[in-house]
Amino acid sequence: MISLILLLVVPAIGMLFLILKRFYDKLPSTEIITLSVMIVNAILFALGIIFGFSGFNVSINPSISFSFSLQENFITFPFLLLAVTVPIAIFLFAAKEIKQSKSIFYLFYLLVYVSVISVFVSSNLIVFFIFWEAAVLSLFFITGLWGNPEKGKKAAMKFLVFTQFGSLTLLAVFILLFLYTGSFNFSVIASKMSLLPSYIEYLSFFLLLITVMIKMPIFPLHGWLLDSYYYSPSSGTMLLSSVLSKLGGFAFILFGFGLFRNVLLDFRLPLIALGVFTAIYIAFTASGQKDLKKLLSYSSMFYMSLVFIGISSGINLAVAGSVLLMISHGFIITMLFGISYILMQKTGTNETERMGGLMSRMPLLSFFLIFGIFASLGVPGLSNFPGELLIFVGSYAVAGISLIAIFGIMLSTNYYLRVIKQSLFGQLKKTFAGLTDLSKNELLFMSFLSFFILLFGLFPSLILNTLGGL
């Protein structure tokens, strides 16, 4: 048995080393510390999958039932897999991108890493909230300090104010749950949900919905998305889109589907309609973008709205599909943002119109771009396909309206193919004649992610089998 606390202790030790590194120069370099921490954690996770995890519990203040307790729940494993693996890939990338004040950057990086893991495994809601906020704060600093020098700070502020409101409403939900069940412990709450009067259930559900809609994000609370995705450093954007936005989906499944299922079932039609509207709206918005990074930001939101449709249908099948889609989207969007950053570095522009003919100079990069785009479009055999399929099959059973979102996928086919056409095919511009292909590190980054994309595309049951409670 592997204790879940180990997954938190190892990064904590790494952070301690990073702090000590400022005083003792003899320690290994910050990159080595960070990478080894994440690899040890991945090994621990793999061992845990084989031998099983055991919970952890330390009581801190019994009067507000605040105890540091960790326990896996019915959707922990897929998300834990995402949180353990994707940061390794992002790290390979960040090592190249981040040049200044590395030790603090990796400190924040490990803080995001550990807080996301702890959110996924914590069973006490206060611990959940503490790490939820820690992730927001450290992303705020990553965006503000290493992002775009001019706009980064404003974008970070916008991100903080939006997500802080979401955090507060989540806190309100937790307090309401505590008020009526007398505990912050998830399993105790789940067993005492019948104590909640129905109007409290409705109130909490809508507060939760605000949190989720900000975090995922869903129209009309997506105002922070573009700024913070666009002006973050690329590794920050990857963290935001691949891991942080999943926190919203995780909370929606855990609380919205797990606890407030009755309310969810009552409101599933309007919620699905909202999701469909977001999907179409965002697909149109993304079609108009010329900038690759902006386009990817919007398309990331498009897939999150599909997830939203899946969860709000309240059908086990569709929820499982949403989990699958979130996991696969985490891998795919990281890869696409990585490619967009590499293109930006090499060609000096983010606009696909000003690229062209890159296929002849960068066959490997083109391969991975096309691979990522096809995966994202839901080509069978790649990982988005089973998720999308399950979502549409499940949600069609309750609301035929959800099929309209398929139209959004058609739109995204349109803009993705445009990206391929404009950047990879056509006449090579003379200024790009000296371009080189992917370096070894980048190749490692890409193949690492593609491995998982292919794996879950071919064997979605690997994830579906862990969702025992669904």
Binding site: E133, L145, Q164, A172
Partner: protein, 450 residues
């Protein structure tokens, strides 16, 4: 042993200081430092005896369930703030020691008083000595701040005693334990007027006008005392009167309290976000913290009062930290928001403590500011004020905005990260930094009191 209560200790300290100062005349004036240490020793002793024996319990002053905790944290904060003040190389007169001790004595007495008259006298002791403290450092416009504080303070005291007399007219008694029979009209008038009187002390809108000016004019370490210990005393006095003494459960009173609290929170948040000078932002933020504590008093349930007491503790510690840390920066002429990037050049530990203090004020976990807000929202929810909490969220958002603006778009963090060069550090700065570290640690450990 029953006379070893902190109040007696403080009182003995004041008398001893006066006596020694009297005898000392004609001697070499270099001995002043001894008196400062003597004062510190008395404060420390008072803290120790509070922990061991609790407070004094005589007819006009009586112990209530939370008073040991409250006097404990007041003495704790005053002790460290005092150490911070005397670690400065500036000349301090013995008068300052005496006024400081009387201010602390006054604020601990406020917590204990069980009679309107003793409450009034304790507040007077506290106020008069703080007027002196504000003016003691003749820096810049200290006179303006002190005069403003004095004039509004005197008016508020007059109003307070007028309200007390109205309550006496209605009830025929001043003792908290027998204030239960009271006719309606004088009671309402009395409540309204008493709230005006105490509102001045605890800086509730619309009685807050003096606060930003006075906070700005006085030395930051003194501001730390006024905004934490003295304000805590004002809020605790509110709790004593409105929860333990007066039979308040009328709709009018609740509506009045809630509206005052909401206006305080919102107005101060919005005013803080347009300020340019760091100290004014901190002053307005301190007003908004008082509003949060008051919103929890306003629900008038046991849960709300417990939350309020804990929150007062939380924001008092955090306020003390930010003002003390700012004192170090102010000495190096960091006045405006845009200059805050050089905070780390003054002291890196100071900047980190400032940063953590602000996190706690903004209510980010895992600091106690978060747990304080958690308890307040819990109290509000359990009394059924759902819409109120949502409104408070918006105010919190505004406050998040300006708190992070104080860090001047994060220049502080920027520099904490980037500065590598070692700044030569003086011994007195080491002392100050140690104090800040201790207080900052208490921001995390305080959770066990929740």
């Amino acid at each position: 042993m029953e006379y070893l209560n902190p109040q007696y200790i403080l009182f003995a300290g004041i008398l001893l200081l006066i006596l020694v100062d009297f005898l000392r005349h004609g001697l070499n004036s270099n001995k002043k430092a001894v008196l400062h240490y003597l004062t510190a020793v008395f404060l420390g002793l008072a803290l120790v005896f509070d922990v061991i024996y609790g407070n004094m319990d005589i007819s006009l002053f009586s112990e209530v369930q939370y008073s040991q905790f409250v006097t404990g944290f007041m003495l704790f904060l005053s002790f460290f703030i005092y150490l911070f003040i005397i670690s400065d190389k500036n000349e301090h007169s013995v008068a300052m020691d005496i006024s400081y001790l009387s201010a602390v004595l006054g604020s601990t007495l406020v917590v204990l008083s069980s009679n309107l008259i003793s409450l009034f006298i304790s507040i007077e002791i506290l106020s008069i000595s703080t007027y002196a403290l504000v003016y003691m450092y003749k820096s810049g416009n200290a006179l303006e701040g002190a005069v403003k504080y004095l004039s509004t303070g005197v008016i508020s005291m007059v109003i307070l005693i007028f309200g007390i007399s109205l309550i006496y007219a209605g009830a025929g008694t001043l003792s908290f334990s027998s204030l239960h029979v009271i006719s309606y009209l004088p009671f309402i008038a009395g409540v309204a007027i008493v709230i005006a009187g105490l509102g001045f002390k605890s800086t509730l809108v619309p009685f807050h006008m003096w606060a930003p000016d006075t906070y700005e004019a006085s030395k930051s370490s003194v501001t730390a005392f006024i905004s934490s210990v003295s304000k805590a005393a004002g809020l605790i006095a509110m709790i004593r009167i409105f929860f333990f003494a007066l039979p308040v459960s009328s709709l009018f009173v609740t509506a009045l309290f809630l509206s005052i609290a909401l206006i305080t929170i919102f107005l101060s948040s919005f005013l803080a976000s347009v300020q340019d000078r760091v100290k004014r932002i901190l002053a307005y933020s301190s007003i908004s913290q008082a509003g949060f504590a008051f919103i929890s008093i306003a629900v008038l349930t046991t849960r709300g009062i417990n939350a309020a007491v804990f929150y007062i503790f939380a924001f008092a510690v955090a306020d003390a930290i930010v003002f003390l840390a700012y004192d170090m920066f102010e000495n190096k002429k960091i006045i405006y928001k845009k200059e805050s990037s050089s905070m780390t050049q003054v002291s890196r530990i100071g900047a980190v403590a400032f940063f953590i203090g602000i996190l706690s004020l903004a209510g980010f976990p895992p600091t106690i500011g978060f747990f304080g807000k958690l308890l307040i929202f819990y109290a509000l929810f359990s009394s059924g004020y759902f819409a109120l909490v949502i409104l408070a969220f918006f105010a919190l958002l505004v406050s998040t905005f300006y708190y992070f603006n104080i860090l001047s778009e994060m220049h502080v963090v920027d520099r904490i990260i980037k500065s590598k060069k070692q700044v030569p550090v003086k011994r007195e700065q080491r002392v100050k930094e140690t104090i800040l570290i201790i207080l900052t640690l208490s921001l995390f450990i305080g959770v066990i009191f929740a």
